[in-house]
Symmetry: C2
Subunit: 158 residues, 2 copies
Amino acid sequence: MANTNAIFTPEELLIHWQGHRNLTRKLIELFPEKELFEFSIGGMRTFAQLATEMLSMCGPGLKAIVEESSIAYSEEGIQISTKADLLQKWDEETAVINHYFNLLPVSRFAETFNLFGQYAFPVIQNIFYFIDNEIHHRGQGYVYLRALNINPPFFWER
Amino acid sequence: MANTNAIFTPEELLIHWQGHRNLTRKLIELFPEKELFEFSIGGMRTFAQLATEMLSMCGPGLKAIVEESSIAYSEEGIQISTKADLLQKWDEETAVINHYFNLLPVSRFAETFNLFGQYAFPVIQNIFYFIDNEIHHRGQGYVYLRALNINPPFFWER
């Protein structure tokens, strides 16, 4: 590291983030086509709906941060009805995240940005929200898979 | 921040971690006594068992990192049979984590440490594993609560 006060560099954060996204992709692959779009527990969203939230939040959110745009949160851009479509969109978003992440100057991470016109936090906190929200909902996907009698991947597989 | 390369300071990481732990505490409080120790879905562990894993990993793991001890992972130190006991242990662990975190020099975060004698990763990655593992299992607790027809707290409440 370039200095003694850095405990996590931007490069490490991106690897951490994409590692988590790669694990989520494995869960999408493991869901049977029908259950991906129909199965839920306790009135919660399906895993396809949860993945749609992740896709609507992460790439568009990071793009908005980099461009300092006040675009509102919306899931309307993501209309998916098959697992193949979802996986394709997932992979496109991987490239979008890599692209915009590398355009974000280190100085921006500590700056407050009003994400989606309503979440005014330092950029680093908004990015951790993307990651933590995905871990949270993916954990729910693990329960769906277990309830469907399907073994999920180990949590440490990235 | 003291320099331009730091995107996350130790102080911010501790606040982030304890914020997540505080949300997990709210879930423990929301579980009915019986279901906390008995309810599960798909053959998974109960939320009390998942919380026991968190307690066995986080405080003892951080203490081992600070003391550079090779103590093995064990859940034997945590024998809990009531919600009140679990909440008390949770609060004790909050103080343990604060204590040891503040003893960890910034220079250690990038150093590799063989946690529990078997997970050789940079300290920052081991700490993120503690946090991410808790978010993951707490997400599972959210499904348990929903299945029990109990409204969980908002994810952004810390």
